[in-house]
């Protein structure tokens, strides 16, 4: 809980400092280097106990495929329901949801396919998914089952949210999160392309 508040505070401080121009030259590759440092640490955690990599695969086997499937079907179903009340229309609502937190890619694709407004909504929506997941990982893990943080993370379960998933759930769930992240990641361009055939 305390971590979530600090995370929110760090994010808001960053937004304000950049918006006010207090930190004028922002280098976007910085984010990537920090992510690399984090992934290196996640790797060290796994390396120091290699059984955390193999034991979930042995234990769950083919059931692991159900985790990304639940994420994808859950998001599409919820967006389809929401489209009834949503002025965007069925296809656009599902397409925005199908970013699964992968905001850079989904915003670019939908900018091209559906126009600047939908592209911007996709950008905001998927940024929010990532941020909301980062804030609620401890709560989701406690009240909604151990797979909930991974499902909420969507495509980001392989990068930005993975360190916090590993920190909260333990190394045993890292391999599930990676597999989930790869499948959901690849489903983003595929699903959006299918929607705009």
């Amino acid at each position: 809980m305390k971590n979530s508040l600090v995370i929110l505070l760090c994010f808001i401080t960053g937004v304000i400092l950049a918006y006010q121009g207090i930190i004028p030259t922002y280098d976007s590759s910085l984010e990537l280097y920090i992510l690399y440092a984090l992934m290196f640490l996640v790797g060290i955690g796994i390396g120091s106990d290699l059984s955390s990599l193999s034991s979930p695969i042995k234990k769950y086997r083919f059931k692991i495929i159900l985790v990304p499937l639940a994420t994808i079907v859950g998001t599409i179903a919820a967006c389809a329901l929401f489209a009834i009340f949503c002025p965007l229309g069925l296809r656009e609502t599902i397409a925005v949801g199908c970013g699964f937190g992968y905001y850079s890619l989904s915003a670019i694709l939908l900018n091209e396919l559906a126009g600047a407004d939908i592209g911007t909504i996709a950008l905001i929506c998927n940024l929010c998914r990532e941020l909301f997941t980062l804030l609620t990982i401890p709560l989701l893990a406690r009240y909604c089952g151990k797979l909930a943080p991974i499902a909420a993370a969507g495509a980001t379960s392989i990068d930005t949210t993975l360190p916090l998933i590993s920190h909260t759930l333990g190394e045993k769930y890292v391999v599930i999160a990676i597999f989930h992240g790869v499948v959901v990641d690849m489903s983003v361009p595929l699903l959006i392309a299918l929607l705009y055939l």
């Binding site: 994010f11 937004v15 922002y26 920090i34 640490l41 639940a70 329901l81 950008l123 998914r129 499902a151």
Partner: protein
């Protein structure tokens, strides 16, 4: 994605070589949470300096937030079913 995976593989190798140092897991856990804070600060910088997000937030932000929350709710609900019936350790 592949760059990230490569870095993680390097980490796994280093972690494996250092596996006999018992202090490593606690250190990794502690260090990673501080770097996560830093990552969020930098993500904030990137959002705050992105005119596409800042200028349209009033007009399109509500819709974006709504779809994000709905999507998370749908995914979490199904993942709970999968966890409850297939993953949860039986007592």
């Amino acid at each position: 994605m592949f760059g990230v995976m490569l870095i993680m593989l390097c980490g796994i190798l280093v972690g494996y070589l250092l596996r006999n140092f018992k202090a490593i897991p606690a250190f990794v856990s502690k260090a990673s949470i501080y770097i996560i804070f830093l990552l969020l600060f930098v993500m904030g910088l990137s959002v705050g300096s992105n005119p596409q997000v800042i200028h349209n937030f009033g007009k399109l932000g509500f819709m974006g937030i709504a779809i994000a929350l709905i999507s998370v709710a749908g995914s979490v609900a199904l993942s709970w079913v999968v966890y409850r019936y297939l993953f949860k350790p039986h007592k």
